[in-house]
Subunit: 165 residues, 2 copies
DNA sequence: GTTCAAAACTTGAGCTTTCAAGTTCCGCCG
DNA sequence: CGGCGGAACTTGAAAGCTCAAGTTTTGAAC
């Protein structure tokens, strides 16, 4: 029997708008990062998250958590970044299983170079088209969706200055 | 000079919420499609868009437009789908450059099998956590962003369509 | 004080996507 | 009608991601 609750017209349009928006936005940012810094967004995020960490250092596990990556993907990515000299691996004193990823000065320089353009692109493509009120609404929607997708609140620990809710 | 307008706290939170939400949502849908139909979302979309086209047929160019894919990516993907027997290529009568992609009955069957679970996942993860009012707001935000990212309105020609998505 | 499951990574193979050519074909300009 | 630029695809190699093992180390149970 066909018990499926299909999407109504409004939902359908919203869903496709979401797909298009997130794809176009991603493409725009990816393109910009690629031409200004020659790295994919995922790699940029690794550098960015390291730069915010104490000593510009995180364990692979923690880094995986904050960039929302699998252990495997991260390991491959850090290998690339290490070849490029942006990141280096170090031993964790006290637990020989865990390895530390450290942002090098060269890596920080690349990030500093890329960041302004990236932020500008985010502003231009996401925030400029929205009114102040819409930004507020969007954030509310995202947080609702997020708390359902992420019941354990892994995101809350990472999002800067999360709401008290 | 440091002319960069960085993101303020609210924008920062909104932006990261967007990243997390779209990633978690994508992962959830991808996982579900993978286990129920064994295909990635991009491939699912190809089948879905073909199923809505007259004669379940589109030129590669048009198909690329509606699934927002590069010509190359689509060509590779259709090659895979053709091996699986879900899609077949045909010659265009009248223009020998263009090739047509046709959804086969087997392909339609796979889609029909996968669609309910997929729609259910979209509903569960995106719409259920939102109030009716929030859906309206979200759609407004997305359309604002979209019209800036897509000034030529390529999306508009594609968005109003029937189920399933 | 051994054993053992689980934690933290890494590795390699397979699949998808991107990038840069390459091919064939249409339509137009002169 | 003869080029010729551009359109519509395809192809192959390189890059990135996923998946399934495999390694080493830890902590805890017995």
């Amino acid at each position: 029997m066909d018990e499926t609750r299909w999407l109504d017209a409004e939902e359908q349009q919203t869903w496709r708008a979401f797909l298009w928006t997130s794809r176009l936005l991603t493409e725009a940012l990816e393109r910009r990062l690629q031409q200004e810094a020659g790295l994919p967004h995922a790699y940029y995020m690794i550098l960015a998250m390291l730069s915010e960490a104490p000593d510009r250092t995180l364990t692979m596990s923690d880094l995986a958590r904050v960039v929302r990556s699998s252990a495997s993907r991260l390991s491959h990515a850090v290998a690339r970044l290490e070849e490029a000299g942006w990141v280096r691996r170090a031993k964790h004193p006290g637990d020989r299983r865990t390895t530390l990823a450290v942002l090098t000065d060269a890596g920080f320089a690349v990030l500093a170079e890329a960041a302004p353009g990236h932020v500008e692109a985010v502003r231009e493509h996401l925030f400029d088209p929205l009114t102040r009120e819409q930004v507020r609404q969007l954030r509310g929607c995202l947080e609702s969706v997020l708390s359902s997708l992420d019941p354990d609140g892994e995101a809350r620990d990472v999002l800067p200055a999360g709401p008290p809710s």
